[in-house]
Symmetry: C2
Subunit: 287 residues, 2 copies
């Protein structure tokens, strides 16, 4: 049996009781390390589960998956994924390869950033399509998110923006020279994401958003140092959200229920803005 | 401290390790019973946690919340919610009332139907706005979902349709006569949802979907009797998905990766349909 087990969002104790029982019963335990990170060190996970954890980087999962699936018809294998196994990052390839080999598969779900952002007060059924922001380079500044964000905001919907992370990536130079040297891990900060957002708005000029647009910055959700701040893009850009992971929520039309909860996360300037807007009886606003 | 603790989707063991520890440390434990159901009886939850569980119906949560929040500044109170506390149903009212009383609040996230449907193969970042289907009555057949579904499908996006459930509801007659008699719980079946979908399409006639539209029926996610079936609306209408909870996913444009996983859940007729479509090199289809 191959178990896909979600680890949840922050500490080792965010695994479900059933998930933990299964990990303990497994013959081999892999931890997917290239699409997300847990707020803890690998050693804590080994200590907590009592199992040796095999780190599974992109090469192992995507090219050497036979190694993971070896003997999985007789043995129990756990494949641990931060968040939910089919949440922000999907692991369908491994699932399909297991199915092709007639290996029974079972998924143990957990919280994902995709549903957990409901704790900001923004209602999950008022979100449009999710967007992703990748690290821009000198020559590559993909702006396909812009059209999606435009459609969401035109429909009054909120947008979850997932921020890029690079773990165990090689530089182009090292890749070309076939040198197995990895760059240090990089996690996009909210401030970096906003700079790129504003860069694309300045280039596209379709007035989808600006420095005044109200957004919610979210960092290290579910951890003890969790941060949720409701403010304008311009203000959020200046705030240091600290260590990863960061996400950004771009609001659409905010309803009264949402504002009622969001105000507990609002900066002083945002509170004044909300009050002014309320006084003007402008209840629906996009900026 | 007031803890909002997600229970996950099916069994008592779907709570997180941290969630269980907190429940055990709490002075009072409430279970929200009116927006969802766990696949287990309340007694199992009491046995599993070793705590007396106080059932919290809508009246208690919405009108008598002071009772829940009593002494919460000195004591630890747990408010248990099936799925994620701020997932498909939000409990922002109770959260806000706690904040107003300066009671510290902590949320323990868990899987929600909103992220767990990623296990069907449909990619979560290709979903549009969530819709809900309520039980139609003789005089009340709300079709606001139709415009949202239309927008999602026009953009090629998938749609999660949440199905109505009625727990501890009073009939209009009993309500008018002030008789505290509750109707038996009702959970909308996928077949009922599809009948209502087709009823509205027949009335609105904007060709948003028809009996040929490919959808995914999902029942009792994460339980041992979990069912996931990929088929046309017309075919799904005839399938008995058994006991609750049911959800329906209406597909938008399916990409190859999604089809590769979905085919393991496909009916014979759907497999033939996919193959025919592939042969015709029609890779993007809305029906």
């Amino acid at each position: 049996m191959l178990y896909f087990i979600g680890l949840g969002l922050s500490s080792v104790k965010d695994i479900t009781v059933r998930g933990l029982e299964l990990v303990k019963s497994c013959d081999r335990v892999y931890l997917e390390t290239y699409t997300s990170i847990l707020g803890v060190q690998n050693e804590s996970l080994e200590e907590f589960t009592g199992k040796k954890i095999i780190l599974a980087d992109r090469t192992l999962v995507e090219q050497d998956s036979d190694q993971i699936l070896e003997d999985a018809n007789e043995k129990n294998i756990a494949f641990l994924v931060v968040g939910d196994p089919f949440g922000a990052t999907t692991h369908t390839d491994l699932w399909i390869r297991a199915k092709e080999k007639k290996i029974p598969v079972k998924i143990i779900h957990n919280a994902s950033i995709i549903n957990a952002v409901g704790c900001t007060g923004l209602q999950l059924y008022r979100f449009g399509e999710i967007i992703s922001m990748v690290f821009f380079t000198e020559t590559w500044k993909p702006d396909s998110f812009y059209d999606k964000l435009k459609a969401n905001r035109a429909a009054g919907l909120h947008t979850l923006c997932l921020l890029d992370l690079k773990v165990k990536e090689q530089s182009v130079e090292n890749l070309l020279r076939n040198r197995v040297i990895f760059e240090p891990p990089r996690f996009m900060k909210i401030s970096e994401c906003i700079e790129q957002l504003l860069f694309v708005e300045a280039a596209r000029k379709e007035n989808v958003y600006d420095e005044e647009t109200l957004c919610v910055g979210v960092a290290r959700l579910q951890s003890d140092s969790e941060q949720i701040i409701f403010a304008s893009l311009g203000e959020l850009k200046t705030i240091d959200f600290g260590s990863p992971l960061h996400s950004l929520l771009i609001t659409g039309v905010l309803n009264e229920n949402e504002l009622e909860m969001l105000k507990y996360f609002a900066t002083e300037a945002t509170l004044r803005k909300i009050e002014a807007l309320r006084k003007d009886r402008i209840k629906n606003f996009l900026h």
